[in-house]
């Protein structure tokens, strides 16, 4: 990946805190620190994987980039322009360039709209099309994602889960975006169908050069499709590296534990796992210093007090840890 590649998206210390209201007068009793100072960039034509377990904030990051949620602090820059403080109307033109594919194929499509209308909705928001033109564009899109155009007038419930996800992808593609935020796009699908959709996303990237922010919890899937991966824990990015680098030379203890926890489908390759003690802390009551210190097998006194900063340990490889492994 050359430095010449254009930078599309840049997050600078993105923060989202939700206030918790309690009592009759709705006092603020605390905050849910969903996203706590996240910074990374996405370049043209690449896939950035965003992984983490529940409560790490990855979905919130995705939604905030799309401005479905308003950030509490920090900057979001799209091709150099700030989009984090734009009003709904000002944000509209950017929606042609940043699109989304959502997790649940059953609830991300309006059950009372025909497939063709669903897929062409983003397009019709920006262009005036005649009936015939609209039909042609939808046919093209259907063919692109591997659906039969003669099914255009059907309703979502007449399609299978995998096909609906393809509809969601076709919808996102309709405006020829530069970046598609994929929020757990294959988690709700059967294994045999996941491969179809993963391949489709890869093919589309090859053909159109679209970038993906691929948010998922399944490391094997993320590894397959991403060029670079960011690992999140409790609202922060703890490690960010190129895919191969992350898997061969992971440096953060959480990444190490995550990698060792994923079961390998091969009974001859059962390895000694690092089993983390305790549960994932709540994003309301986060541990002090390094959030991971309560479960970290390498934790020392410093970790309880001082919050580690994301540092570059080798070109393109960033870690937020006081005692980096494998360096």
């Amino acid at each position: 990946m050359s430095k010449q590649q254009k930078r599309l998206l840049e997050l600078k210390n993105l923060t989202k805190h939700y206030p918790i209201h309690k009592g009759l007068l709705s006092r603020i009793a605390g905050y849910v620190y969903a996203v706590d100072g996240v910074s990374f960039s996405i370049y043209e034509g690449e896939t950035l994987g965003l992984v983490g377990e529940s409560g790490c904030g990855k979905s919130t990051v995705g939604r905030t980039i799309l401005r479905l949620i308003d950030p509490t602090a920090g900057e979001i820059l799209w091709r150099g322009e700030r989009i984090d403080e734009l009003s709904r109307n000002e944000m509209r033109p950017f929606r042609k360039e940043i699109q989304a594919v959502f997790q649940d194929p059953y609830s991300s499509l309006n059950p009372r709209m025909r497939a063709a209308d669903i897929v062409s909705e983003p397009l019709r928001n920006f262009e005036k099309l005649t009936q015939a033109q609209g039909r042609d564009r939808v046919s093209e899109l259907f063919a692109l994602v591997g659906l039969r155009p003669d099914q255009m007038l059907r309703y979502p419930h007449e399609f299978s889960g995998g096909q609906r996800q393809r509809l969601g992808i076709a919808r996102a593609l309709s405006v020829k975006p530069k970046l598609i935020m994929c929020d757990e796009p294959v988690s709700a699908l059967d294994v045999s169908v996941q491969a179809q959709v993963i391949n489709l996303l890869g093919d589309l990237q090859q053909e159109f050069g679209v970038s993906y922010l691929f948010i998922a919890h399944d490391l094997a899937v993320v590894k397959h499709i991403s060029h670079r991966i960011a690992v999140m824990y409790l609202g922060r990015v703890v490690e960010l590296a190129a895919t191969d680098e992350l898997f061969k030379r992971s440096s953060h203890p959480y990444t190490e534990a995550l990698l060792s926890a994923v079961p390998i489908p091969d009974p001859t390759k059962q390895r000694k796992q690092i089993v983390l003690g305790g549960d994932v802390p709540s994003p309301i009551n986060r541990p002090s210093g390094c959030h991971f210190h309560t479960r970290c097998i390498y934790a020392q006194a410093r970790c309880k007090v001082e919050e580690p900063v994301l540092e570059e340990i080798s070109p393109g490889h960033f870690v937020a840890c006081h005692f980096k492994l494998n360096t």
């Binding site: 179809q196 993963i198 390998i264 009974p267």
Partner: protein, 334 residues
């Protein structure tokens, strides 16, 4: 791995469970047979709709009737057919000799009763113990499943515990009466991967300690590789392959099993070429399937497959396959 003695304790023969809906008969389990030996871990693996969960619920006769019905077959537990027992006799077996843990710990636990009491209920039902004995046993169980501060936790409610802890409570409830068979229906699907590792680790430890047999229902082949000794693969309500875990992964014979294994992205993959897809999708269970259920998607399909439903054939070493054109070469492990 635990010691399986080879003595068969559960034998399922030609089990058929159908659901009678307004739009047709759904043949969720359509002639499934397998057996479980003392202390062994059998995994039943398949995708959604293949009938694996319905199979496990049928074993304990937990199928809602109507619309479901166990139409035929037998479930022999130490020779006695569970399908012919009275409801009272079944209740004695559930929770005591054969117990079950479910996928969603939040909805499987009663939200208004403390977790200690819920475990206690199981004990009170099946064992005549005094109150003190029950309390001691509850603490013992909580320690067994590695719950820290058990004295405090036993008086808490499910919503005060995390997902991983709730699943441990379920395991404690299931093991309270030292069952011979534990049925685990997707026990870690709803958990984060690091918590899943904890729970699977716990299950392995407990298995070694209590010598219980485990029937593990899952769609995750990684979990199967970690936990099981033998595997049954189901597709569209039927068993398509059965083998030891090593044979299944090294020499899968049914094209579906092979397809599944090849289509999964893996952490230990070195190349990132396109995943091998299985075209098409799982057939609708509402219409009667003529011939092999997998035929429309199968790369090895032939005339016979479309007309005749394949019969299970044993290929030695306890490896049986229901296919007219099984794959005989060992697979290329990338």
């Amino acid at each position: 791995m635990s010691q399986a003695t080879g003595k068969t304790i559960l034998e399922v023969k030609d089990l058929r469970t159908y659901f009678y809906t307004r739009d047709g008969v759904v043949r969720s389990v359509d002639g499934v047979s397998f057996s479980v030996s003392e202390g062994e871990t059998l995994a039943i693996v398949g995708e959604s709709g293949c009938g694996k969960s319905v199979t496990s619920l049928s074993l304990l006769r937990l199928i809602p009737t109507p619309p479901g019905k166990i139409v035929s077959g037998s479930v022999l537990y130490h020779g006695k057919d569970l399908l012919k027992l009275s409801e009272d006799e079944m209740r004695d077996i559930r929770g005591d000799k054969i117990s079950m843990i479910f996928q969603e710990p939040m909805t499987s636990l009663n939200p208004v009763i403390t977790v200690g009491r819920q475990i206690g209920e199981v004990l009170e039902l099946h064992r005549q113990c005094s109150k003190d004995e029950v309390n001691d046993r509850i603490l013992e169980l909580l320690k067994l499943v590695n719950i820290p501060e058990p004295e405090r936790r036993m008086n808490e409610y499910p919503h005060q515990l995390s997902g991983g802890m709730r699943q441990r409570i379920m395991i404690a409830m299931a093991l309270a009466c030292d069952p011979e068979i534990l049925i685990a229906d997707e026990p870690t699907t709803a958990l984060d991967v690091t918590i899943q590792a904890q729970i699977l680790n716990l299950m392995r430890e407990l298995r070694d300690r209590t010598r219980a047999a485990i029937i593990l229902i899952t769609h995750d082949l990684g979990v199967v590789a970690e936990m099981a000794q033998r595997v049954v693969v189901m597709y569209a309500g039927r068993k398509v392959e059965e083998a030891s875990v090593y044979d299944l992964f090294a020499k899968p014979m049914h094209p579906y099993t092979l397809g599944l294994l090849n289509s999964m992205p893996r952490l230990d993959d070195t190349s990132s070429k396109r995943l091998v897809e299985i075209p098409g999708m799982v057939p609708s269970m509402r219409t009667e399937i003529v011939g092999c259920a997998f035929a429309p998607r199968c790369p090895e399909v032939s005339e016979r497959c479309l007309l005749e439903s394949p019969i299970l054939k044993d290929y030695g070493n306890e490896h049986s396959v229901a296919c007219w054109n099984p794959v005989v070469a060992p697979r290329d492990i990338a």
